[in-house]
Amino acid sequence: MSRIREVLGEDPEIVLAERRYDWISKVLPKVMRGARPITLSDLLDKALLDKYLGIPIFLALWWALFRFTFDVSAPFSDLIDMFFSRLGEAVEPALGGGVLSSLIADGLLGGLGSVLVFIPPIFFLFFGLSILEDSGYLARAAFVVDKILYKLGLHGRSFIPMLLGFGCNIPGVMACRTIDREEDRLLTIIVNPLMSCSARLPVYVLISSAVLGGYAVAGIYSMYIMGIGLAIAMALLFRRVIPYFRGRRSAFIMELPLYTVPTLRSTILHMWERGFLFLKKAGTVIFIGVLVVWALSSFPWGAGLEESYIGVLGRALEPLFRPLGFDWRGAVALFFGFIAKEIVVGTFGVIFGAGGEASEEEIADVIRSENIFTPLTGYAFMAFTLIYIPCVATVGVIYRETNSWKWTLFTVLYELLLAYFTAFLIVSVGHLLGFS
């Protein structure tokens, strides 16, 4: 190998590539003629990548995607919610009211319902994302925002993993394999869980629809922005503070493909593939998690909720969460959210559904009527949920991809601290501004 290099005075691969292109450039003029005409893609790029309009258009398109995901999918979620409520109501008397009927009606059906309700927004999100990707706009989005990412300690290639993180942090973390430098890859992995994955969406939807009223969608949108902001801030901080992350960074070399009209077939296929990943996860881990919550909240059998195992656990954690304005129910929900963040919703469902089936609407009603969250503490709770800890599955993937317990543990710890700090900040600043 070194002998070849000596003879050629260059890396053999470089020489090969040069020869190859040399030949192509000799043949090409003989078979192709004429200058490249202005294509539709060129025209679209002129405006979409415009110096002044490029970034505003990018933001407007994201906003459209969010309205599409949340508002348009809402009636389908209502439909699923209604179906499971009615089923629970119908089943419980038929089984007689003992442990078994509670297990089936509250535990199984309740758990299943609280997971399936979120299938519509997730599929709508992936439908929209697939259109953006298949049309060729997503590569432009990376082009438009690369400088910000770069300045802020990340890499242009971090954009795709971060974007996938919006769906689920697991593929997000796994996609970091495409970043060639170790430091850039590791940094992107440990800030990836701050990207608000689709499992956190149910929590935002529930809390914001319960306490934020007309600002529900704006509140949810701000969670995504907050996640991005914190990811950037953390990347910047780690880049400065942790010696391991200092140094040179990898290149940004990317083709901007021609725009194409996405076909319905491929869009639906993409949507299905990604949505199914969520379903599979939902079908196993989350479902088991909800059953565990049911068991902890129902035993000792016959005891009131506050005397149940879950209540005891919540009481023990309550002092820790007092400064943030969460009571023992919030603490319990967060504790179980470690299994998977959507369980936070399932936990509320089981806690409030004691003796009956709590639909999403009912949970929201209880939150309002029992004053569990004010708009301010509700918002802080959403922020806490966004940040506090990656779910079990993500922690597992982080370990597998970094191959280091040190970095895995670091990720878990810094996120816990950051969540507590952020929620505390929101509550304190809110109080100063006169919110309760």
Partner: protein, 82 residues
Amino acid sequence: MDSRGGKVQRRLSDLKPGEGGKIVRITGPPSLRRRLLDMGLVKGAYIEVVRKAPLGDPMEFLVKGYNLSLRKEECDNVYVST
């Protein structure tokens, strides 16, 4: 600026949108050079700046009939003669 071989050489990153030139040499670590070569940036190829990103970086180029985006840091390693 560098005037090796009698002709004026400029860094790719110094070109303005609409300007272009023939690639004269590519410097930098071999891994970067290989990746640039894979994307068609070879000696003698004609490359033209299409535009800069809204924030000035990265830049978009037209090379071998397709659109490629590179960061300024990478373009610093590519010299063209105009």
